[in-house]
């Protein structure tokens, strides 16, 4: 079966060896144990930093190997980078707004609405 002359897409795909999958799987297990263990040690504000750093590393392992992005074409990668860029815009602008104000407003629990709602029944 010869390839089509006009196509840039070969029929054969990169097949990830089982050893790579198992290696990534073991790394994810080790990182889960690590992040759980660190939660019980007082590192001050670093606890959050360490937990999120480990989560990002785990995400990268899943995206690059389980989701095959390491072996994908550029266009797929642009979409992924764009998704995180948009997420970055949303988080940065919302937090920039929130962190530069001094809110004194404390929302009530929504259950305070119940007596008002129950009047309708």
């Amino acid at each position: 079966m010869s390839g089509h002359p006009r196509s840039d897409h070969p029929h054969s795909e990169h097949i990830v060896p089982v050893s790579v999958y198992v290696g990534v799987f073991l790394a994810l297990l080790v990182l889960t144990a690590l992040t759980t263990g660190v939660a019980f040690i007082d590192l001050g504000p670093l606890n959050t930093v360490v937990a999120l750093t480990i989560a990002v590393i785990k995400m990268l392992l899943v995206v690059l190997f389980f989701m095959h992005v390491r072996y994908n074409k550029g266009l797929t990668r642009i979409v992924i980078v764009a998704a995180f860029f948009w997420l970055g815009i949303m988080m940065t602008l919302m937090l920039a707004d929130e962190l530069t104000r001094h809110w004194d407003m404390y929302p009530e629990p929504w259950s305070v609405l119940l007596p008002h709602l129950l009047r309708f029944f």
């Binding site: 994810l28 995400m59 797929t76 259950s111």
Partner: protein, 231 residues
């Protein structure tokens, strides 16, 4: 003539608008990633809201976080990581042209692990929260040690149920997709050339795993757990 010859070798599942099966795979993959981009922003909205309210009510959110049982969160993380491995192996079985039994085996294992995640969540976490009266709403009971933080502790539990609930809904949909794949595999629909449904469903499944990879530390781990003493 060349076209006719190529046509006769087109694999099962090939759609005629594509030049070849490789282009079809790339197109499907790209479409799935665009869908996942919308999912990233969908969950991202909740993560942003969580971040802002956590910053506003840090002490209450840490108190709320310590209401959760870390051993179940950690166990479920391991269960989901296992299910991601079995999903990847299901796709690999198709790519390497294994018999349908092999694909079905890994798919069923993935479904069992997904169901185990949901079972653990319902039986040992949500049910426990219900018994403990920490489900937001009418049955929620303030505890004296929370003092004036009680409304915001309830707000943390709202975030907890919405975020894990929406994640669980994605898991249920995922198991539905896996059921479809199982039927397709049983009907010999997949080959080493045509496995796009398996692959893009795998992308979805791994994405749901990644959401949990962030929910676990945000909800369970960064609540000052070290203050709770021996555990």
């Amino acid at each position: 003539m060349a076209d006719m010859a190529a046509h006769s070798t087109h694999p099962q599942g090939f759609a005629h608008q594509f030049e070849d099966i490789g282009q079809q795979r790339d197109a499907g993959r790209l479409g799935m990633w665009i869908f996942l981009a919308t999912e990233i922003l969908f969950f991202g909205g909740m993560f942003t809201a969580y971040t802002i309210y956590r910053e506003l009510h840090l002490a209450a959110f840490e108190t709320g976080s310590r209401l959760l049982e870390v051993q179940f969160g950690a166990t479920n993380t391991v269960v989901l990581i296992c299910s991601s491995l079995t999903m990847a192996l299901a796709i690999r079985a198709a790519q390497t042209g294994k018999k349908k039994g092999s694909i079905i085996f890994w798919l069923i294992l993935t479904m069992i692990l997904g169901a185990a995640f949901l079972g653990l969540k319902l039986r040992f976490e949500w049910y426990h929260d219900y018994v403990e009266h920490i489900v937001p709403g009418v049955g929620f009971r303030n505890r004296t040690e929370w003092g004036s933080l009680a409304p915001q502790v309830q707000m943390f539990m709202c975030f907890y149920f919405f975020m894990t609930g929406l994640h669980a809904l994605h898991m249920v949909i995922g198991i539905g997709i896996l059921t479809t794949l199982l039927i397709m595999a049983a009907r010999n629909r997949f080959s080493s050339e045509y496995y796009a449904p398996l692959e893009i469903s795998g992308l979805y499944w791994h994405f749901v795993d990644i959401v949990w990879i962030f929910l676990f530390p945000l909800l369970y781990l960064i609540g000052g757990r070290y203050t709770m003493g021996g555990h």
